[in-house]
Amino acid sequence: MTTDLIGHFGRFGGRFVPEALIGALEELSLAHQEALTDPTFQVELMELHRTYTGRPSIITEAKRFAEYCGGARIFLKREDLNHTGSHKINNVLGQALLTKRMGKERIIAETGAGQHGVASATAAALLGLECVVYMGEEDTKRQALNVARMKLLGAEVIPVTTGSRTLKDAINEAMRDWVTNVATTHYLLGTVAGPDPFPTMVRDFHKIIGDESRTQMLELIGRLPNAVLACVGGGSNAIGIFYAFLNDQSVRLIGLEAGGAGVETGKHAATIVGGTPGVLHGTRTYVLQDDDGQTRESHSISAGLDYPGVGPEHAYLHEVGRAEYQAITDDEAMEAFSLLSKSEGIIPAIETAHALAGAMKIGKEMGDESALLINLSGRGDKDVQTAAQYFGIPL
């Protein structure tokens, strides 16, 4: 869906970076293009997915949860069953293989909740790469368990103490490291944001989710789903499952953003619903910003959606009307989190719970004849502490 050679999606995307990085982005772009058509690379990646990630991931029909969704049939694409517990591994293995292909030995990554950091540290351990993860100091405190996990996997975790000390600042710090060490280092960006080729490349590594799902749905119910739903922070799991359905005009594509305390309160991370077009972290997209173009802090109960930008392809899909974006509040997400846990025995990531809350609304709207496919992008083990606190369960 990239509409030109330098990574634009309509008026979104592109490259807004220091010249120092242009060479590395061009090198990466070329490596990605070559890998796409290189059978050896594709075989190696697919073999890793089969024997390490655990692909293809299954689809579970959630019959009891469907009762909360107006009786619509609910199908869960189980990315939570992947090794490391989320869809993140798809992209990380792809980029780690590209890193080796480019002859680089060090990867850096940013992380908010720690999922992408853990996945990066995992891939680095598997492929023998040095790994440094930047994480906002606030997040290292909120997600101490994941910090320990990354260290156990052999990665170095650097707490970021500038700005709001969260994901946005971790990305800034990773970019600074990259500008300095670009000759030896690959920046393993964790979502479909950032300068070209990241939005396209990360999407290409995640589109396996939609490719598998589309085939699986045809096998399961003999037709396509009426709607595909996914949560959107940067938007990698959403673009991954949407992509295979882009040309199926009968299929509604619905992205659920983090509405925090409510978009009207200003305390949210719903970038498309509540933001404006701008430039952040190297790409033109929707941004939470003030009248002067200064980035505003985002708020969400889910650290993985707590980001004031969004992938440029989502900005484009929103603008042309191919995908719809809605905001789900913290409370709505936590209700869905609890309902899925109790009705299906699946504890979802709080990020994913936003998509489930979306299904409860859309299911009621579309009725019991409809089939909804939801990307169950991650498992909720990492969120036990946050959820226990939210529901008042003593630890």
Binding site: I6, G14, R15, F16, V17, P18, E19, A20, I22, G23, A24, T162, G163, K168, D169, N172, M175, R176, V179, T180, N181, V182, A183, G278, V279, L280, H281, G282, R284, V287, Q289, D291, D292, G293, Q294, T295
Partner: protein
């Protein structure tokens, strides 16, 4: 000929490099940034670069990050940058990340800057591919357009970027972010030599330059020397406005002497 171009000519006639000093607008307050710039000029800085504080400065090290945060916390708004430029008696450019310019309105930004006598803009994260509206707006307002190139920039790209620069070309002395370094790498000289092969536009070297000795080295091969973080440090390390301005002026004096060949 623009005031900036006249400054380069004058410096050349005096057999020295131009000294360019950077300070963010609104740091630590709007008034103090204006008085600190005055102190820089009294000490012998030829050209001023006024930084536009931004929430996500990926090309900047800890010192400028901290200064930008302070300015923003003290209520800096984009319009303040024009107030600062308006008070400067020497050729003055703005250095800004792209989003605040785009948010202000590309054409409007160029018009306002021209109105207050600005000479041009340095855009560290704007690539030539994304520059269509910027090129037409700056051409229309006769503003200099300065892009930053790096040691990693390939020759073919140097040619293309240099061709779109006017006033001067900003050569980053090293691979990295802004902030004082103890050594200036040999990469800077090699980069300047490569640029000189493809462009007649003056080349100024910045990133990491903080001492007279470093400025002296760079002045041997570049048309200008850019110093930023070192001035901010003087302000951060002072207890009062007068102390800060004295230190700023004294650093400017040291650097101004050093750029004479």
């Amino acid at each position: 000929m623009s005031l900036l171009e006249e400054s380069f000519d004058l410096a050349r006639a005096e057999n020295r490099a131009l000294l360019i000093g950077y300070l963010p607008a609104g740091f630590p307050t709007l008034d103090r940034s204006i008085s600190a710039i005055k102190a820089m000029i009294e000490g012998g800085v030829d050209v001023i670069e006024v930084g536009l504080p931004y929430s996500d400065p990926v090309m900047d090290g800890p010192v400028i990050q901290r200064a930008s945060e302070t300015a923003l916390n003290n209520g800096f708004t984009t319009r303040d940058v024009f107030k600062v430029v308006a008070t400067s008696p020497v050729p003055t450019l703005v250095m800004s990340y792209w989003n605040p310019i785009e948010r202000f309105g590309v054409e409007e930004f160029a018009q306002e800057l021209r109105k207050v006598g600005g000479e041009g803009v340095i855009t560290p994260d704007l690539t030539i591919e994304e520059s269509q509206s910027w090129i037409s707006s700056t051409d229309k307002e006769r503003l200099h357009r300065v892009y930053v190139v790096a040691p990693s920039t390939k020759d073919s790209r140097l040619t293309e970027v240099s061709a779109r620069c006017s006033g001067f070309i900003y050569a980053a002395s090293l691979m990295g972010v802004t902030g004082a370094r103890t050594d200036i790498s040999s990469a800077a000289q090699a980069l300047v030599e490569r640029i000189k092969k493809v462009s007649k536009t003056p080349v100024c070297v910045g990133l990491g330059v903080s001492t007279g000795a470093q400025a002296r080295e760079i002045a041997k091969y570049a048309d200008g020397v850019i110093v930023g973080s070192a001035f901010i440090k003087m302000i951060l390390e002072s207890n009062s406005e007068s102390e800060a301005n004295l230190k700023v002026k004294s650093l400017a004096t040291e650097l101004a002497a050093a750029v004479r060949r």
